[in-house]
C-alpha cells in the first residue's frame, strides 16, 4: 500500500500502541455517547454508513439557520453565500481525490452516479455483441445498472471471478480483454464484503490498452484511504458521501472528453443552457449533469466531512483501518466455530471483516450482538453473486472508521461469546 509510509506493515502492527491514536476524535461523534441496553454504543457498521462528527452536523445546521438559499441564481446575499459554500465544497472535495471540480458531479449517491454512466454513456456506446465486464465481488449498485443496460442493448455481461484469496486475477482480466469485445470494465476499488483492495490503477491501464472504458466504484475506498484519481486515471469514478462521515450525496468524477460528448441524463432546471420548444442545449460541466435543485446543504456538509478527514490525514486513517482489521483478524478466531472471509491479513484489505459462526445464522449473530450494543451487519450486503461464490446465504460483517478503537473489537468478541451461550453452542 502506497499509503503506509515506512516499515513493513507487519512490523508496524507489532508496534501498535496500547492506546489508540484516534481516541481523541471520539468526542466529535455525539452518537457514541448513547447507551443501548445498558451498554455504551459500539458501532461496527461503517461500511454500510458512517456516523457523523459534530463538525458536519453543525456545518449543516449553521447553513440552514443562517445562509440557506438556492445556488447559482440568487442575486441576493443568501444566494451568494450558498453558491460560494456549495461550489467551494465541490472544489475541496475534488481536490481531496485529485480531480477537476468541473468534472466532479454531485449525484444522489454512488448508485445514481453509476446509473448516470449506464444511461448517458452506456446507451450510446454499448451495443449488441459488446461486453461489459464486472466482477463477482461487486455491490448490486455496480451490477444491476449493467444488467439493465445489457438487457436493453443486447450486450453481454461478464464477471471476473473472485479467486480463493478473495482477490481478482489480472491474468483472467487479460484473457477476457484479449477476446476484444469488452467495451467497459466496471470494478470496485474496495470490496464492501471482503475488504479486498483491488489494483484499480493496473486494471484501468490494461482495460484502456484493450480499448475499454473504465468505471471504478470507490464507495468503500474514498472514506478510508488516500485516493488519487489522477494516478488511477479511470474514465469514471463514483463514490458516496454518507460512508465518508458526510450526509447523503454522491459524486461522479469523469474524464472531461467523455462527459462533454455524453448526452445529459436527467433533464430539467439548471442543466440547460437554452430551452426552445422542441429542443434544448446544455449547460457547461459539471452542471449539465445536475438537474433540478441540488442537495445544497448535503454537499456543504460533505465538504465539512472531507475537511475533517483531511485534517486527520488519510494516511493515518488508512493505517488506523488496517490496524483495527489486523486486530479483528487476530482476535475473532478465538470465537469457536467462526470462519473469516477475505484476503489473508490486513494489508490488502480495508477496514472490513466478514465472518460466519457455525450453528448460528448471521441474522441471529447481529441480533445478539445488539443486546450488548455492538452494531454489526448481517445479510448479503447487496452482493448476492459474491455470497453464492462464497457458498453462503449471508455473513456477519464488522467494519471500522476513525471513531473505532481496539476495545470495540474486544466488545465484539465478548458479544459473540455471549451469543454462543444463548444458542447453547
Amino acid at each position: 500500500m502506497a499509503s503506509v509510509a515506512g516499515g513493513t506493515p507487519k512490523a508496524r502492527a507489532r508496534r501498535a500502541p496500547a492506546v489508540q491514536p484516534f481516541a481523541d476524535v471520539r468526542a466529535d461523534f455525539p452518537v457514541l455517547q448513547r447507551e443501548i441496553n445498558g451498554h455504551s454504543l459500539v458501532y461496527l457498521d461503517s461500511a454500510a454508513s458512517a456516523q457523523k462528527p459534530r463538525q458536519v452536523i453543525e456545518t449543516m445546521e449553521r447553513f440552514y439557520s443562517y445562509s440557506y438559499g438556492t445556488v447559482h441564481r440568487g442575486v441576493y446575499e443568501l444566494g451568494r453565500e450558498a453558491t460560494e459554500q456549495f461550489e467551494g465544497a465541490r472544489e475541496r472535495i475534488a481536490s481531496f481525490v485529485g480531480w477537476d471540480p468541473a468534472c466532479s458531479i454531485f449525484t444522489r449517491n454512488a448508485t445514481e452516479a453509476i446509473n448516470l454512466v449506464a444511461y448517458a454513456w452506456g446507451r450510446d456506446n454499448i451495443g449488441a455483441g459488446d461486453e461489459v465486464l464486472i466482477t463477482e465481488m461487486e455491490h448490486h449498485s455496480n451490477i444491476v445498472p449493467w444488467q439493465l443496460l445489457c438487457e436493453e442493448t443486447g450486450a453481454r455481461l461478464r464477471y471476473l471471478s473472485v479467486i480463493d484469496s478473495g482477490e481478482l486475477s489480472l491474468d483472467e482480466l487479460d484473457e477476457v480483454l484479449a477476446e476484444g469485445r469488452v467495451k467497459l470494465v466496471a470494478v470496485a476499488h474496495v470490496s464492501n464484503v471482503l475488504g479486498t483492495i483491488n489494483p484499480v490503477g493496473e486494471i484501468v491501464k490494461r482495460a484502456r490498452a484493450a480499448g475499454a472504458v473504465t468505471l471504478v466504484d470507490g464507495a468503500q475506498a474514498v472514506p478510508q484511504m488516500p485516493v488519487d484519481l489522477g494516478a488511477i486515471d479511470a474514465d469514471f469514478y463514483a463514490w458516496t458521501g454518507h460512508k465518508a462521515l458526510g450526509p447523503a450525496t454522491g459524486l461522479l468524477h469523469g474524464r472531461r472528453e467523455l462527459l462533454q460528448e455524453m448526452r445529459p441524463f436527467l433533464g430539467g432546471g439548471h442543466m440547460i443552457s437554452r430551452v426552445e420548444r422542441d429542443h434544448s442545449t446544455w449547460n457547461e460541466l459539471p452542471w449539465k449533469f445536475e438537474a433540478g435543485t441540488n442537495a445544497i446543504a448535503e454537499a456543504i456538509g460533505l465538504g465539512a466531512a472531507i475537511d475533517y478527514l483531511a485534517r486527520i490525514g488519510m494516511d493515518r486513517v488508512r493505517e488506523h483501518e488496517r490496524e483495527l482489521a489486523a486486530y479483528a483478524l487476530e482476535r475473532l478466531p478465538e470465537v469457536e466455530g467462526l470462519t473469516l472471509y477475505g484476503p489473508d491479513g490486513a494489508d490488502g484489505r480495508g477496514g472490513v471483516v466478514p465472518f460466519t459462526i457455525e450453528g448460528m445464522h448471521p441474522h441471529d449473530i447481529a441480533e445478539l450482538c445488539d443486546r450488548e450494543a455492538v452494531c454489526v451487519r448481517a445479510g448479503h450486503h447487496c452482493a448476492q453473486p459474491l455470497m453464492r461464490c462464497l457458498g453462503v446465504g449471508a455473513t456477519a460483517r464488522a467494519s471500522f472508521h476513525v471513531y473505532n478503537v481496539r476495545e470495540d473489537v474486544d466488545r465484539l468478541v465478548h458479544a459473540l461469546g455471549a451469543a454462543r451461550e444463548v444458542f447453547e453452542l
Binding site: 450453528g359 448460528m360 445464522h361 448471521p362 441474522h363 441471529d364 441480533e367 449471508a394 444463548v422 444458542f423
Partner: protein, 127 residues
C-alpha cells in the same frame, strides 16, 4: 436467564426442525426468499381430501424463520387447505409465542408466505 427471543423451544426447533426436507411426489410447492437477508425457504405439500396430508419445508435462514417453519408445520399438517390459505400473520406470531420486532417480522412470516404461495398462488407478504 432465559432470552426473550431465543427461548429454549425456539432454539430446539431451529436445531431440530420438524418436517424439514423434501416431499416427492407432492401436490403443491412454493419457494421464496427474504430480500433483506437472502434467507430461502421452500415447501412441498401433499393434499388428501382437501387437507394437508404431508408437508416439508427446506432452505436456510435464521433461527426465527426456521423455527417458525418448524413450529407452524406441526399445526399445518391435517389442516384443510382452504383454511391454510386464510391464515394471517397474527396466527403465526401467536404460534411462535414470542414478541417479534419489526426488523424480524419478515423472518417470522417467510414460512407463512411460502405456504400461502403454495395454497393460493399469491406471492405477496402476509400483513
Amino acid at each position: 436467564m432465559t432470552d426473550a427471543l431465543y427461548r429454549d423451544y425456539i432454539l430446539d426447533h431451529y436445531k431440530n426442525p420438524r418436517n424439514f426436507g423434501e416431499l416427492q411426489p407432492h401436490d403443491l410447492e412454493f419457494h421464496d426468499h427474504n430480500p433483506l437477508c437472502g434467507d430461502e425457504l421452500g415447501v412441498h405439500i401433499v393434499v388428501e381430501d382437501g387437507k394437508v396430508a404431508g408437508l416439508r419445508f427446506h432452505g436456510h435462514g435464521c433461527a426465527i424463520s426456521q423455527a417458525t417453519a418448524s413450529i407452524t408445520s406441526e399445526e399445518l399438517v391435517g389442516m384443510p387447505v382452504e383454511e391454510v390459505s386464510r391464515l394471517g400473520a397474527d396466527w403465526v406470531i401467536e404460534q411462535l409465542g414470542i414478541e417479534i420486532s419489526p426488523t424480524r417480522r419478515k423472518c417470522a412470516l417467510l414460512s407463512l408466505k411460502v405456504m400461502r404461495g403454495a395454497t393460493t398462488g399469491d406471492p405477496s407478504w402476509p400483513e
